[in-house]
């Protein structure tokens, strides 16, 4: 399995968009859903993104069913990506439906299970639309052309006279029409048109793409009938709660479950075996209490007496660790981008600015905590899990209980938030181990305390940044050293330096027009499981870059927006081909998605305009700006802050200008930007996980605070720079990174206090 994981990691670093092949599967497949036989089924083979796909996908190349049309016209569209609030169950289907000329009200969305035949299902890195936009269009276009051909055949007319329109094909000369349902049986007998004969719609004819479409699960959610993993039940199902070691890599030495077993409702105790390094997504190991309901399992767990071997991380202390990170960032690291000669530039500088920034560990805390339901029967297992990566869930379960992956059916209902935590389905393995042991379906629900204490944390990071200014105030050099525990450690426990791909998250692609640049990653040993969290290392890199840019503005007496535009320089494409490792560009081709400073300039100007930058403000109010490209999308954020005399802050307005190329569902693009701002605000204002004696010190929402209604910005204004003909960029994450630096810059404008560490709640802003 580790080989698969390593391939996955490599995909994340260097993937390229895959090829597709369409096929008419009407004769081989039943229709999806309950529509019966005799309809039209279109399949899509999504080749995985390696050069040698057969090796990576275990040789599975069954084309998968993505679209079917029943005789009554009901059109079923498969969503193969996890829905976690980003709106993908609406976003990809509207692309297909639009190109097909289907009526969305007659479409049903079915959720795919985790299987390599669907291609990439790894719902992370803001790339569902980026990767599948073209493919869903091609599938839709093929279906539309086949329906038109079917109509031509049924009427005995030329296909060029037939045009699909809103779930019908119309014979243009006569105006007669046939419903898609009436054409399904004929379409089912036709050949799929060759790729070079597909005619995609003109963007001006889009009916859904580029507009606001309400999410397909809206009614279920509002009525409380939407189903998440925590809501799944099976006949005879048991409920489990797992005690895991509070120290990373610690193991059970011995335990006594006699008191736990006396708790009413508790039925069994199961040992989850300790894992061996590397950690990957394996279950942490521990003791599970299995009961007839969740509460009994939690109560029984409290009565467990466990002696732990705390292992090598028992001495881990956040405060000392921060010092070691800061020290590391003061020394030269691995150089991942080098332009010109920074040392020569510092030697001849008129003025040198230097600053250090720090950001702590964070944890995801999605409202639905991690969890899974597994049912092992003989050599087969069905697992439902709250996962962004159902194929990894399948692999992790297979490995944990010694099954072949092909015998594991991995499903995901709606996810109650995810933010990167649920890419790592360790919890699915726990449920499978319990189910195998007790011989019944078992639901494992993590408590919030488990989620906070045993997470995959967003890395803490120290950065040392240094700039040279010449006599005219022009910035001639930028040296940036970043020290943080590497995610590569999950796959290789010997790793203790940031990988190039991690520096590529918002640092090596520094978009400033500066002749001498050195970007470095510095050593940092790993003591907790680290993992990506919404926008990953962009959070701390954008924080340091955006804050330091603002420091430069004030140092050279320039308005922060003018300063930012000056640093960005002329509109151009940034060339990173000289980097020692290929710039990973969020897995997509740099030719299709270049780093275009012209787009960054546009969002800066737009956000400044929206905020009426330069307007006069009451005392202790301030505006701050940051613009950042991440996940192929450009976002500028202006935060307006008001700082009360007692130091509490409020945010009357946030202004965001977003260039994500094509915005498919504009309402969901706005909602993701609103959500990302609030997620970024939770990190900027409150987020801090600390460890003492290797144990995480926070527990729950009582001491790990997140933004609530009363401190949420009063208004979040989002302006989308729509481009219907541009390739779409990512949307879920890129709204997060600019928030913290924009807020901190606003706080400086309001108070004159330059703060260089997150979160804000550790600083006293009172007068």
């Amino acid at each position: 399995m580790n080989t698969i994981m390593n391939m996955r990691r490599r995909n994340l670093r260097k993937g390229v968009a895959g090829r597709i092949r369409l096929s008419n599967m009407s004769r081989r497949h039943f229709l999806m859903g309950a529509a019966g036989t005799g309809g039209f089924v279109l399949g899509l083979t999504l080749f995985p993104i390696q050069k040698n796909p057969a090796a990576a996908a275990g040789g599975v190349f069954e084309p998968s069913v993505f679209l079917s049309i029943a005789k009554d016209g009901t059109t079923t569209i498969m969503c193969h990506r996890s829905e976690m609030g980003q709106g993908i169950r609406t976003g990809l289907p509207i692309v297909l439906a639009d190109e097909l000329e289907a009526d969305l009200s007659r479409c049903v969305i079915v959720q795919a299970e985790g299987d390599a035949k669907y291609g990439d299902q790894y719902t992370d890195g803001s790339h569902s639309i980026v990767e599948f936009y073209d493919q869903m269009r091609e599938l839709g276009a093929a279906g539309r052309q086949m329906l038109e051909q079917a109509a031509a055949q049924q009427w005995g007319v030329a296909q060029s006279e037939c045009k699909a329109q809103n779930h019908k094909v119309v014979h243009q000369p006569t105006g007669k029409s046939l419903d898609f349902g009436d054409l399904a049986a004929t379409a089912a007998t036709l050949e799929v048109p060759a790729a070079d004969t597909l005619r995609l719609k003109d963007s001006k004819d889009f009916r859904y793409v580029g507009k606001d479409t309400p999410i397909v699960d809206l009614k279920d959610i509002n009525q409380g009938s939407a189903t998440y993993t925590i809501d799944i039940t099976m006949p005879g199902m048991k409920y489990a709660s797992v005690e895991r070691c509070p120290v990373t890599l610690g193991k059970v030495k011995s335990y006594d479950a006699s008191e736990a077993l006396k708790v009413p409702g508790v039925e069994a105790v199961v040992e989850i075996p300790p894992f061996s390094l590397p950690v990957v997504y394996n279950a942490l190991g521990g003791i599970a209490v299995v009961a007839s309901n969740t509460w009994a399992a939690m109560e029984g767990r409290k009565k467990l007496k466990i002696t732990w071997d705390y292992g090598e991380n028992a001495g881990y202390e956040s405060r000392a660790y921060r010092k070691s990170l800061e020290e590391s960032a003061r020394n030269k690291g691995d150089v991942w981008r080098e332009e010109g000669d920074v040392n020569a530039a510092f030697g001849s500088a008129h003025r040198i600015l230097e600053a250090e920034y720090y950001s702590p560990l964070l944890v995801h805390v999605p409202m639905e905590p991690p969890g899974a339901v597994a049912h092992v029967q003989g050599d087969k297992c069905l697992v439902w899990s709250s996962t962004q990566d159902p194929q990894s869930a399948r692999d992790v379960v297979a490995e944990a209980i010694g099954l072949d992956s092909a015998n594991v059916e991995s499903r995901m209902p709606l996810l109650g938030g995810a933010f990167g935590r649920k890419s790592k389905p360790d919890f699915a393995a726990e449920a499978a181990v319990c189910s195998k042991e007790v011989g019944a379906p078992v639901k494992v629900t993590w408590t919030r305390e488990d989620d906070v204490r045993n997470g995959f944390y967003h890395s803490d990071c120290a950065q040392h940044v240094k700039a040279a200014l010449d006599a005219n105030g022009k910035v001639t050099a930028w040296e940036h050293r970043s020290a943080f525990p590497t995610i590569n450690w999950l796959w290789d426990a010997a790793e203790n330096r940031p990988g190039a791909w991690e520096i590529d998250f918002g640092l090596s692609d520094l978009p400033y027009d500066i002749p001498n640049i050195s970007i470095e990653g510095c050593e940092a040993p790993v003591h907790v499981r680290v993992g990506w969290l919404r926008s990953v290392h962009n959070i701390f890199h954008a924080f340091a870059i955006g804050s330091f840019a603002d420091e430069i503005a004030y140092a050279r007496g320039r308005d922060p927006v003018d300063n930012l535009l000056d640093l960005i320089g002329p509109a151009r494409i940034i060339d990173l081909s000289g980097n020692p490792e290929e710039y990973f560009n969020y897995m997509f081709g740099i030719d299709k998605y270049p780093i275009d400073t012209g787009r960054l300039i546009k969002v800066v100007k737009e956000a400044a305009k929206m905020s009426k930058w330069g307007r006069s403000l009451p005392s202790r109010h301030g505006l701050g700006i940051m613009a950042h490209r991440s996940f192929l999308t450009y976002v500028a954020t202006v935060v307006e802050v008001a700082v009360a005399d007692d130091g509490t802050i409020s945010i009357p307005n946030v202004y965001m200008a977003v260039d994500c190329g094509l915005a498919v569902n504009t309402d969901r693009v706005r909602s993701q930007m609103e959500g990302a701002t609030i997620y970024g605000m939770s990190a900027a204002c409150y987020g801090e996980i600390t460890a003492k004696a290797g144990r995480i010190q926070q527990h729950n929402f009582n001491d790990y605070h997140v933004v609530r209604m009363s401190d949420c910005p009063r208004d979040i204004h989002v302006h989308i720079l729509q481009n219907l003909d541009a390739p779409p960029g990512g949307v879920g994450e890129p709204g997060v990174p600019p928030f913290a630096p924009a807020l901190y810059n606003a706080v400086f404008a309001a108070t004159g206090k330059r703060l260089r560490s997150l979160p804000l709640q550790n600083h006293d802003l009172s007068i």
């Binding site: 829905e83 609030g85 709106g87 606001d212 309400p214 999410i215 699960d217 809206l218 009614k219 279920d220 959610i221 509002n222 009525q223 409380g224 009938s225 939407a226 189903t227 998440y228 925590i230 809501d231 039940t233 409920y239 009413p264 309901n293 969740t294 509460w295 009994a296 939690m298 805390v365 999605p366 409202m367 639905e368 905590p369 709606l414 996810l415 109650g416 938030g417 995810a418 933010f419 629900t445 919030r448 909602s671 993701q672 609103e674 959500g675 990302a676 609030i678 997620y679 729950n700 929402f701 009582n702 997140v706 933004v707 609530r708 209604m709 009363s710 949420c712 910005p713 009063r714 979040i716």
Partner: protein, 151 residues
């Protein structure tokens, strides 16, 4: 010992320890899963239900102490057509949707007490209910829309 309670107009007799929180009785024993677990300590409001019309965190309420009829999100309206549910649809409030039953139940309680809430009233009343997806600005707008429709 069996405990009797009424949920959404239906009477149940459940054989559970009286200290078991109402949340787990509703979810695991009765099988109504619209009410969500988010923290278990009264800090997220995702488990909020009404007891005789008053909003309460069901994760902290021992089932033996329940005095009054329980209403969950499933019982708020017959067809999902409470003015708040309609306003939630109009503003497309939910993202992942997980917190929304708690948000809607709290908002329904707010409007029953205060049919014309100001921003400050909304802040004070809704502050207990965490939405990690960050739908707060839309929740605020939807509450105002519903308040208008109800007046």
């Amino acid at each position: 010992m069996a405990i009797s309670l009424t949920v959404n107009g239906t009477s149940y007799s459940v054989d559970v320890p009286s200290e078991m929180p109402l949340l787990w009785v509703i979810r695991d024993i009765i099988g109504l899963t619209g009410t969500k677990y988010g923290c278990g300590i009264g800090k997220c409001g995702n488990c909020r239900v009404h007891i005789d019309g008053v909003a309460k965190d069901s994760c902290l309420l021992p089932v033996g102490d329940v005095r009054g009829a329980v209403t969950t999100i499933e019982g708020l309206s017959a067809n999902g057509d409470h003015p708040l549910q309609k306003a939630w649809a109009k503003h497309v409030v939910p993202q992942c949707g997980y917190c929304q039953p708690g948000q809607i139940m709290q908002a329904a309680y707010l409007l029953s007490e205060n049919p014309k809430p100001t921003d400050e009233d909304i802040d004070a009343s809704m502050d207990d209910i965490i939405c990690r997806c960050g739908t707060y600005t839309r929740i605020r707008s939807a509450i105002k829309t519903a308040a208008e429709e109800m007046s």
